[in-house]
């Protein structure tokens, strides 16, 4: 029983990182209808920025906040500079754009900070959380920070004027313009937020997987899986999907005989495909019947 609780809590901890990545992917998907393959590389880059800031002597939390801010600006800049000009281009052109972004960010990261793995500090330490055997304090920190981030986003999107405008702009751009919303800037804002959320995920997972230019590769796959499982049309669904994937992954690794570390990814993904077989819009995806 304790093993089960332990595995579920640990699953929620890594799942919260998948949830952040899933949420980033969904935010951009809703704004421009494309999947950002480079989301993981952007998050890695952000984690390196934080690492660099700390090397320069800036304490953890100021470096954290500065990194989130820098990532936001970088997300906006990427949208303005690269994807806005591609807005009316074909799907394949956009895919090429994302691949280019992936390759560029990855190699710039590698060139700047080289490919050796680096240690990344955790502000929460790695002792047992409140003396409990179930979860360590960094895992608790990952869950806590993600929870705060989600609460902030929920309030921002649900209860502020800009959040309302942003939701309107991505759901029905034409009508949004007719009520005076600058849709282009709302899309850029979506990129900025997605990039910031990815930065948080990168900084939280870096102490666990160690910092190196390819550290987010596997994590983004789980993030995508979470997004698809939850439903690409639903930010809340993406978060739940990410958490579920984290829990699945751990339970399979623990309880499926012989699954171990190598097989838990394929098994988790197979399970997701099975779910999608019966719910093509994802577990929480909306398939609203709209009147015409």
């Amino acid at each position: 029983m304790e093993l089960l609780t332990n595995q579920i809590l640990a699953g929620i901890a890594t799942g919260s990182i998948y949830a952040c990545m899933a949420l980033s992917v969904v935010m951009i998907y809703q704004a421009i209808d494309h999947l950002n393959f480079a989301q993981g590389e952007m998050a890695t880059f952000s984690a390196f920025v934080a690492w660099q800031l700390m090397r320069w002597g800036i304490p953890y939390w100021p470096a954290f906040i500065l990194t989130v801010t820098i990532s936001f600006a970088a997300g906006v800049a990427i949208e303005r500079g690269l994807f806005r000009p591609l807005a009316n281009a074909s799907i394949l052109t956009n895919v090429a754009g994302f691949i280019a972004l992936f390759a560029i960010v990855n190699s710039v990261t590698g060139m700047t900070w080289d490919f050796t793995i680096k240690e990344f500090p955790s502000p929460f330490g790695s002792s047992q959380f409140l003396g409990s055997e179930l979860i360590n304090s960094h895992q608790a920190g990952m869950i806590g920070v993600t929870g705060l981030l989600l609460a902030f986003l929920y309030c921002f999107l649900g209860f502020t004027k800009v959040g309302l405008a942003m939701r309107a702009a991505v759901s029905t751009p034409e009508s949004a313009r007719l009520i005076g919303i600058n849709v282009g800037w709302m899309v850029a804002l979506g990129w900025g937020l997605a990039s910031s959320i990815g930065a948080v995920a990168g900084m939280l997972i870096a102490p666990v997987v160690f910092l190196e230019p390819n550290m987010m590769g596997g994590i983004l796959v789980y993030g995508f899986a979470g997004a698809v499982l939850g439903g690409l049309s639903s930010p809340a669904g993406a978060v739940l999907g990410g958490l579920l994937v984290g829990v699945f992954e751990n339970l399979i690794g623990t309880y499926v005989p012989g699954a171990g570390n190598e097989l838990k990814l394929p098994i988790a993904l197979a399970l997701i495909i099975l779910v999608l077989r019966f719910r093509p819009d994802g577990l929480f995806g909306r398939n609203v019947v709209e009147r015409v």
Partner: protein, 237 residues
Amino acid sequence: MSDILEVRELRAYYGQVQALHGIDLSLREGSVTTLLGANGAGKTTTLRSICNMIRFTGAIRFDGIELSTRSTEKLVRLGIAHVPQGRGTFTRMTVEENLRLGAISRNDERAVTGDIDRMYAHFPKLKERRSQQAGTLSGGEQQMLAVARALMLRPRLMLLDEPSFGLAPLIVRDLFGILAKINREDKVTIMVVEQNAELALELASDAYVIETGRIVMSGPAAEISNNEDIRKSYLGY
């Protein structure tokens, strides 16, 4: 009365295809003007040009301000509300959020809340459904919502593209009654595109008839509805 909107030599294009061939229109401030014509005549295109949503040449002046150099989202802030064909409701948001969105370019938060209550007074059905997703409303309710959302801008000019489309005759009467009231009480200038010519001419003071991208007839609404030849050849009743 002075003209609030002036359209001169308007030619509009979809790619290489020209849809409007030199339209001239004037809207008197405080009036209700109707733009009538068959399917494909260019009514929607005319409204889309006014809001700068399509490529065009010619002059469009609102209150003396040239609109063609302003983006859609900017010219809305001058007080031009457009209820597009097919309503343009934010279907996944609640009724109340839709109303708030209508006022999103305003900066007087306090007054916005008061205006929402006024809309609920105009359209009691919307009040009942305030926290329901707009996509789940009936067609008529959605049309009401679209009009209410446009009014939330406190517009000086309201452009309506076939507001009666798909509505039961009684509901259309209601809606037009409300439009007349809004025009009278709030001094909103209205331009309404309609297929339902008979009813539109009742509501309007001025009328234009458009055919394949050209204005073929214009004048006081009463005159046009009394002229049997025009009615028969252009309006089909």
